[in-house]
């Protein structure tokens, strides 16, 4: 069945979530920022959802797509800002992946999202200190980390609700689970 095959194909899911990253980056870009680095992080939502949908290689591809999408839309692809985005996104993606896989049912998207947001911001503060502002970067650290906690919670709550009601997610997650079973040599049902 075509539909079944479509959902079993992770490239489809990766591409769709990648497109969402582009779209949400554009939405993010429209929202006024009180301070330059204070982002909502909504473009991370597809990555957060993907922790349960994609195998690690495709998951990392998705994170890279998000970095490129964000940089293209904000016009910062060939500037040092893209370096911040790359480091922040890759760190948070790995932290979210590891916390999801390590803690399983003990953690929900909320906790995963908080860990991802705060680690992303921590890495960016570190980079700001090394690359741009030097010592003065520490001044923005508390507010920036607090922003990460708040947006992390908000994004996590949204993701939890989305997972609970989305038919698309249910089908994609079902396909992912079947794919995993097939990969382990199960019957894939």
């Amino acid at each position: 069945m075509l539909t079944e095959r479509r959902w079993n194909d992770r490239t489809d899911i990766t591409a769709l979530l990648g497109a969402f990253c582009f779209f949400l980056s554009a939405v993010e870009y429209m929202v006024p920022k009180p301070l330059p680095f204070m982002r909502l992080g909504i473009a991370n939502l597809p990555i957060l959802l993907a922790t349960d949908l994609l195998p690690l290689p495709w998951y990392l591809v998705l994170a890279l797509v998000k970095v490129i999408g964000m940089s293209v839309i904000s016009g910062s692809l060939f500037s040092y800002v893209a370096l911040f985005s790359l480091a922040g996104t890759m760190t948070s993606a790995m932290v979210m992946w590891l916390s999801r896989k390590a803690f399983g049912d003990l953690i929900s998207a909320i906790g995963v999202s908080i860990l991802g947001a705060v680690s992303s911001n921590a890495v960016q503060i570190f980079l700001a200190r090394v690359v741009v502002f030097g010592e003065a970067a520490r001044l923005i650290a508390p507010a920036f980390l607090a922003m990460g906690l708040l947006t992390g919670i908000a994004l996590g709550v949204f993701a939890e609700r989305f997972v609970a009601v989305s038919l698309w997610y249910a089908r994609a997650a079902g396909a992912a689970a079947r794919g995993d079973a097939a990969a382990r040599g199960g019957d894939g049902v």
């Binding site: 909320i110 860990l115 520490r138 923005i140 508390p142």
Partner: protein, 122 residues
Amino acid sequence: MRVRPLDIAAALAAAVVIVLTAVAVYAPGNAAPEVVISGAGGEWIYPLDTNRTLQIPGPLGLTTVEILGKTARVTDSPCKNKICIAMGAISSPGQWIACLPNKVFVRVEGRTARGAADTGAY
């Protein structure tokens, strides 16, 4: 929606990190003051506890500012009266040295007061 134990743990851990960072950054006493130098070309901020010599461009030429031993002073200036050199060294927040002819302004600021202006200036 069900909040899991590690969600709360993650939020608490993040909150602890934020509080510790805020204490480390904003606590009075352990923050070294900074030297803020305004010149014709912009504004520069340097920690007062790192020794260095700076050349600040102005309309008359280069004003030399030396940060040494947690004090800042103007050691050379292309201006006529050399009042800025005569003003000597500054080290506490609020103190300043100005060279009007060369439009260079050097002041010492405490870290606590810098926060908003610094991020806003970016």
